[in-house]
């Protein structure tokens, strides 16, 4: 069925409306999937979006379309022993990436990074034979009554006066930029895909909001704009990327993209720059001298849910 909006666009054109918005909607509606667009079409889309966002937010907004650079495979490493759970990365991400930040309705506030607080267990001598079933000990990790090892799942809403707390470990999670991303496999409109530099991105214009990717992602990394995004003009970051932090619409899924608008131009992601303990490291996996390559060479590294064969490029390490 020819949708209503296209009909309206046609009508507006026929009426020879001098409203610029009409032509924008027309062009936007018939825009191709970003991967199929020619350079001219990308430039056109870019100019159109820049004009629209600049008018909407009252400042000069740039929409970058820089492609992946050859010889770059982005990688991320996080020192899990250093993380103090201060959530500065979460809020830096919001300041950089134009997420919705409303307070009044559920779903209006979107944060891409979640910091998990986990209890530290103890392998005490007297607890060694506790567990379930009785007598088998720590192999089964204890039970609800006699915890052995780490028992709780993560807590997201911890609010102590000071962090880090004693007997707590913090584990920030966000998009792991998998090499074999389950979200890409399930996307029915192929709007989310892996870029040649390794980042999994979303063409927001083609997202239909079906949330298949949210169900497929084993890392709870994706967020849906349930409401119209609340983005105050003064807080909007005017430096954007088409596949990255440009303002989203209602009904599209978004997630971490390692600050493409920064990293494509050589700059660290925002979360790396604000981490007060320097737990977050970012670099080129193909460069043997990069921070991430050196961490992989020297430190003890693990990946979250490695058994799922998603091959994340987000590595946790400890000294």
């Amino acid at each position: 069925m020819l949708s209503l909006s296209s009909l309206m666009g046609t009508a507006a054109l026929m009426a020879e409306s001098d409203d610029a918005q009409a032509a924008i909607e027309w062009a936007e509606h018939f825009q191709k999937n970003y991967r199929l667009m020619t350079d001219e079409e990308k430039a056109e889309a870019r100019a159109r979006l820049e004009k629209r966002y600049s008018e909407e937010y009252g400042k000069q907004v740039t929409v970058d379309t820089t492609p992946a650079q050859p010889g770059v495979l982005m990688g991320y490493a996080l020192n899990i022993r250093k993380c103090i759970g201060c959530r500065r990365c979460v809020h830096a991400c919001v300041a950089e990436n134009n997420q919705s930040r409303g307070k009044n309705r559920p779903g209006e506030k979107i944060e891409w990074i979640q910091v998990l607080r986990m209890e530290r267990g103890k392998f005490d001598a007297e607890k060694m034979n506790h567990g379930y079933p009785e007598g088998l000990g720590i192999q089964v990790g204890g039970n609800a009554y006699t915890p052995v090892g780490q028992v709780l799942e993560g807590q997201y809403h911890y609010t102590p006066d000071l962090v880090p707390e004693k007997d707590a470990t913090y584990m920030p999670i966000a998009c792991m930029q998998c090499e074999k991303p389950p979200c890409v496999k399930v996307c029915p409109v192929r709007t989310t895909y892996r870029e040649p530099d390794g980042v999994v991105v979303i063409d927001y214009n083609w997202c239909i909001g079906c949330r298949m990717c949210m169900g497929a992602c084993p890392y709870w990394a994706r967020r849906l704009n349930v409401t119209n995004p609340v983005l105050p003009k003064e807080e909007m970051n005017p430096v954007t990327h088409y596949l990255g932090n440009r303002p989203r619409m209602r009904g599209v899924v978004e997630k971490c993209h390692w600050c493409l608008q920064r990293t494509r131009h050589g700059r660290y992601p925002a979360c790396v720059e604000v981490c007060p303990v320097g737990a977050r490291k970012f670099g080129n996996l193909l460069d043997p001298n990069s921070e991430v390559s050196l961490i992989l060479a020297r430190k003890n590294v693990f990946r979250l849910k490695a058994d799922l064969n998603t091959f994340p490029k987000f590595f946790y390490f400890y000294d």
Binding site: C86, R88, Y145, H157, Y158, Y268, L294
Partner: protein, 298 residues
């Protein structure tokens, strides 16, 4: 023919009107956030202290500069200012006063001095934030007391041995020395500070080290950490991610308190901080107690 033209005009008019109506609905949706924002600012005075302060902040911003701390409290700080219109050099957290976003990572930096092992990094690509303005009192130490003149200081009374002795004057000036905690009692002032040049640190041979190169001093003992820091694995850097990119390197003392390295609950070398606010609770959850329940039923 005329009739068709008329129908077309009618259709176009109708379509146009419908379009305008839909567009109006869209702008209505777009203005909604602004209204919501206005509602929250109106609600602000009802809440005490903190909310009122943030509401008053924009008015005071002209005279009172916003200063936020970067890594730990009491170390390096940034003063917020606009680099270009609508683009601040740093954004600060309204709740904790921490630096949350860098508009210019190289703001107020100088090239780092020479250090072995940095041959691959191009000149001027390793930057540090100088501590000179924060150390304004240190040159005074050398003129006021440790000047080599005066009854107590002719000749300068340097201690005969390295046994730590409490110095009441110094403890009065620097209260944190009372809980001095570094090396578990095996270190004292002159292991790190130069004996005669008070605005310098000291290396193993008694030669002075600049305060902007504190890694050379700390690396005397913490060599493994120095190696990791030099390679970018330990410590914080901001700027460009390429291995030979232009970066601001955070120095040891910007994150660790050298006079009390073990402060904090976990004794991990980093003092405790106030965390940023948590995400909103799930719909219908009054508090966070559901997170404390073991999710698997036994």
């Amino acid at each position: 023919m005329k009739k068709i033209a008329l129908y077309t005009t009618i259709f176009a008019l109708f379509g146009g009107a419908l379009y305008v109506a839909v567009a109006a609905g869209k702008t209505g949706a777009a203005t909604q956030p602004a209204e919501a924002q206005a509602a929250t600012t109106e609600a602000a005075p009802a809440q005490p202290a903190a909310a009122a302060e943030t509401a008053a902040a924009p008015a005071d911003a002209a005279k009172e500069p916003v200063v936020c701390f970067e890594s730990r409290k009491g170390a390096s700080e940034v003063t917020q200012r606009e680099i270009r219109p609508g683009w601040p050099n740093v954004k600060c957290s309204p709740t904790t006063g921490a630096a949350l976003w860098y508009g210019d990572p190289f703001d107020g930096t100088v090239p780092m001095g020479k250090m072995p092992g940095l041959e691959n990094i191009p000149e001027g690509h390793a930057l540090v934030k100088p501590r000179s303005e924060k150390l304004a009192i240190l040159p005074m130490c050398a003129t006021a007391c440790h000047n080599g003149v005066g009854p107590k200081f002719t000749p300068p009374t340097l201690p005969k041995d390295k046994k730590p002795t409490p110095i009441p004057t110094m403890e009065g000036l620097l209260p944190e020395l009372k809980e001095f905690q570094h090396g578990r009692g095996r270190l004292w002032c002159l292991d790190c500070h130069h004996t005669t040049q008070r605005n310098k640190l000291v290396d193993n041979f008694g030669d002075p080290i600049d305060f902007d190169q504190s890694q050379l001093l700390c690396g005397k003992c913490h060599g493994d950490k120095l190696r990791d820091w030099r390679d970018g694995i330990h410590g914080k850097r901001i700027g460009e991610w390429a291995s030979d990119g232009k970066k601001r390197w955070f120095l040891c003392t910007e994150c660790h308190n050298p006079h009390n390295v073990q402060q904090g609950e976990r004794n991990r070398g980093f003092a405790q901080l106030q965390p940023e606010p948590p995400p909103p609770l799930p719909k219908g959850m009054p508090d966070m107690k559901h997170e404390l329940v073991h999710p698997v039923a036994h």
